[in-house]
């Protein structure tokens, strides 16, 4: 290392040496603060993971079964499937790998100021757009300004709001006619072009995870000449060109003639086939080799796919889950009833039955073992007698009658609900299930009194608790409020030091077990299916799929 290390790394390095910091978290921290990934791996005495599976062969087609959506506006994508289409043509500034470590992409290297307010991004100098122009800082600045523009409507705004944007009253109204705060860059010089290949992000407050945020899936780098639109023939710095696209049917990507700056691609064509939402039709297509991959597996098809000799199941542990959460209204206004719900649940059985064991049992506090600040406060075992006693104490000696709202997709959720409902029945919690189509569920998810809601993976435990359980948060679907919890959470968010955060996290987790509104039955592994002839592919925890790494071993 010839360059000077960021002060936080030096401190973290000491903590790591003292055994206070886990390897994974040190790795993440070091890389976020500008140490190259291979160097960071060697600092903690690990070998960087390799994807290589023999020498890649050229040629062939890969077909994947995935929904083919409208992909015309990359910066406002709200579905992973859309991003998984466009990412074959467009690149990101950074890339977070399957090991949760963020690496360079169009940004070759980055540096953070000691106060974490200023980030300097150095762009690669050898990248050209397919149509021939050189990729420069102007392109990157244009994209960053566009996603942060209020009028674009990108979800990147939510991610970087505190760092670089300020709120003001621009006279805007929301759909119900209520006044809405607009946002703008806090300073005219917030996104600064230093030279043709260097950008500075001058923030208003500290932010550690800028490189991770740059990989937020709508932050695809488009050519300014396309004006933020994307479609057949659109320019890109990626390995493929979109040559055909029909929503609901299929997309076709052809490999560029010119070699890709990042290596690959190996296959000639990549096709996305829309097979609908029916999981069984997807497996039929896989069985008769009409597709080589399925974007995401379903529990109902797993037993079949395991029997298909030419197909392999790819899976990875994540912080994805779904939580059964209550509103603080009768009978759930009494925390003993909420506790009873947790004691009545057998998480191991839910995991086994609903996910066929793919994942880990949950611990009801919504902080996953994959989160760096996770504190192991012990596993709450099913205890029917205790659940009954708690119900009786709360004034329900004969049990309670409730209804839970759930949705049919993904299929494991309905299985989990059915299993829990049977378990609860033993404790005297008689629960009916109301299944709504997904569209209807998402229209009401914060309003239903008792519901089972999907939560995606978030890299930090504090992020998920802040989104879902802080008093008044937009996504606090449980309408839950606990002053002590809010105070501790704010405290935890203030610590960069993972050990300090973990100590507070243990308290937060205990509050969740004591007073919290939710049952968190499992951490699910995400999984999908691919033909064994496809090499070079590993499943990403967010199921991001890059065709440029794939090759076919016929």
């Amino acid at each position: 290392m010839t360059e000077k290390l960021h002060p936080i790394i030096e401190k973290a390095g000491r903590e790591f040496a003292d055994g206070k910091l886990e390897r994974r978290e040190f790795l993440r921290l070091a890389v976020l603060l500008g140490v190259a990934a291979p160097a960071a791996y060697s600092m903690v005495g690990l070998a960087a993971p390799a994807l290589a599976q023999g020498a890649p062969k050229k040629g062939g087609i890969v077909r994947i079964g995935m929904r083919v959506q409208d992909i015309s506006s990359p910066h406002t994508y709200s579905w992973i499937e859309s991003a998984n289409s466009a990412r074959q043509v467009l690149d990101y500034l950074t890339v977070t790998g399957i090991d949760n470590v963020t690496r360079p992409s169009l940004v070759e290297k980055w540096e953070a100021s000691p106060d974490l307010k200023t980030w300097t991004l150095h762009l690669r100098k050898d990248v050209t757009w397919r149509k021939g122009r050189k990729f420069t800082a102007d392109d990157a600045v244009w994209n960053l300004k566009r996603v942060l523009d209020d009028k674009t409507g990108s979800s990147v705004v939510g991610l970087l709001k505190g760092f670089i944007l300020t709120e003001y009253d621009g006279g805007e109204k929301d759909a119900k006619g209520a006044p809405r705060k607009s946002v703008k860059l806090w300073d005219a010089n917030a996104i600064q072009k230093v030279d043709d290949f260097t950008i500075k992000l001058n923030g208003n407050s500290a932010n550690l995870s800028i490189p991770e945020s740059l990989f937020h899936y709508p932050l695809l780098i488009c050519s300014p000449e396309d004006g933020g639109k994307f479609g057949v023939g659109s320019d890109g710095t990626g390995a493929f060109e979109l040559v055909e696209h029909e929503v609901g049917k299929r997309s076709v990507f052809a490999a560029n003639k010119k070699a890709y700056w990042g290596g690959g691609p190996y296959i000639d064509r990549y096709e996305i086939i829309d097979l609908g939402d029916d999981a069984a039709a997807q497996v039929s297509a896989l069985a008769s080799k009409q597709v080589d991959m399925i974007y995401q597996g379903a529990i109902s098809t797993l037993p079949t796919v395991e029997k298909l000799p030419h197909v392999q199941v790819n899976s990875v542990a994540t912080g994805y889950t779904a939580v059964a959460r209550t509103h603080p209204i009768k009978p759930f206004d009494d925390k003993r009833v909420r506790q009873a719900l947790r004691y009545a649940t057998d998480n191991d059985a839910v995991l086994k039955g609903a996910l066929r064991g793919l994942g880990k049992p949950g611990e009801h506090h919504h902080v996953a073992p994959v989160h760096p600040e996770y504190a192991d406060i012990g596993y709450l075992k099913q205890d029917i007698a205790k659940a009954k006693a708690l119900l009786a104490e709360a004034g329900y000696p004969n049990g309670i009658d409730v209804t839970i709202d759930a949705r049919p997709q993904p299929d494991w959720e309905l299985l989990a609900v059915q299993i829990m409902v049977e378990q609860w029945k033993e404790a005297g919690i008689r629960c009916k299930i109301n299944v709504m189509p997904s569209a209807q569920y998402w229209a009401n998810w914060t309003k239903v009194p008792f519901g089972f809601t999907t939560w995606a993976h978030r890299p930090l435990g504090t992020m998920i608790l802040g989104l879902a359980y802080r008093t008044g948060a937009a996504w606090n679907e449980a309408n839950w409020s606990n002053a002590e919890f809010d105070k501790l959470l704010t405290e935890a968010e203030g610590y960069l030091d993972v050990e300090k955060r973990r100590a507070v996290m243990a308290k937060l987790e205990r509050i969740m077990l004591d007073d919290g509104p939710a049952v968190v039955p499992v951490w699910r592994a995400v999984f999908n299916y691919s033909d064994k002839k496809i090499k070079g592919y590993k499943i990403h925890p967010s199921i991001y799929i890059d065709a440029k790494d794939m090759w076919i071993d016929a």
Binding site: A280, V283, A287, S300, P303, G353, L415, Q418, I433, V435
Partner: protein, 301 residues
């Protein structure tokens, strides 16, 4: 869904829908008579009776609670001494779910059909007997409903109001009533000017009495045959809704839903799909056989 065709066919397109004979002979005796004469009707009635008995006695004959989950059993889900028809993907006993599921389908389908008959009979009688403006309005509304392809009507309504037993019953009632009204209206128009109806009117009987006591019995034959045919189609319709994922909500067993839940696994655990599919088929076959037998016997006079 053949029901669509069946519904749209005019009365004249369905030949010989009539139990012949004297309206005054006891209905039960007439039915028994036909059953003993037609082997097809006997087989059909036996199947329906067997399922009805199982449904009625579900709490006593079902070997396990239908929703009891035992995940450990999924390792070997095939039929065994402990589970005669095996267990499903959550380790629930398939036989018990079939028996309790029979309860569901044999409640929902007959109620839906009876609802349709009640509504259809009333509207048909009023329409045919009163004639004029009322007739035009009722038939116009009926035609509009019939113009909807059924499955589309089901999808629109259930997607809006949610899938519950009540909504399924309502939508089937609503979509089947117009065709029954047509049958009854046809019969009413045919007999309302006969002597005995005129006589009743002379006696000063109320319109309601004349419609239900004097006219309705003439439509009894076609209605009975239609009831069993419709029962079969309704069973299929409930199965189809379950299969499309807009059927009765879990966890209570619903045959169509059982097929839906398990059919992704047909290649490894075929019994989970095939057994409920066979159950639906058998019930529909029973209803169809009975209807065919009744019609045949009535044609013989």
């Amino acid at each position: 869904m053949t029901e669509i065709i069946h519904d749209i066919g005019r009365p004249r397109a369905a030949p010989g829908l009539g139990l012949a004979g004297d309206a005054h002979v006891g209905l039960l005796r007439q039915v028994l008579n036909i059953l003993t004469r037609s082997p097809l009707a006997t087989v059909g009635a036996s199947i329906l009776l067997a399922w009805s008995l199982l449904a009625l006695l579900a709490p006593w004959v079902s070997p396990y609670p239908p929703n009891r989950i035992d995940v450990a059993l999924v390792a070997d889900p095939y039929p065994s001494a402990a589970h005669w028809l095996g267990v499903d993907h959550l380790g629930r006993d398939i036989l018990s779910r079939l028996i309790w599921g029979a309860r569901t389908v044999l409640t929902v389908a007959p109620i839906a059909v009876l609802g349709a008959v009640a509504l259809g009979v009333f509207l048909g009688l009023v329409s045919g007997y009163r004639g004029g403006f009322i007739d035009t309005v009722i038939m116009r509304i009926g035609d509009t409903l019939l113009a909807f392809p059924k499955i589309i009507l089901y999808l629109i309504i259930i997607a809006k109001f949610g899938a519950s037993a009540f909504n399924i019953i309502a939508v089937i009632t609503l979509s089947s009533a117009p065709i029954i009204a047509r049958i009854v209206r046809g019969v009413t128009l045919d007999v309302k000017n006969r002597d005995y109806v005129a006589a009743a009117r002379m006696r000063g009987e109320s319109a309601l009495f004349i419609m239900f006591v004097e006219i309705l019995p003439n439509a009894r034959g076609p209605l009975i045959v239609d009831f069993f045919l419709r029962l079969g189609y309704t069973t299929i319709a409930i199965g189809v809704l379950g299969f499309l994922g807009v059927g009765l909500p879990p966890p209570d067993p619903d045959w169509g839903g059982m097929v839906k839940e398990a059919y992704g696994m047909i290649f490894v655990w075929p019994h989970m799909t095939i057994i409920p599919a066979l159950a639906i088929s058998s019930l529909v076959i029973g209803a169809n056989f009975l209807a065919t037998g009744l019609r045949e016997a009535s044609l013989d006079g």
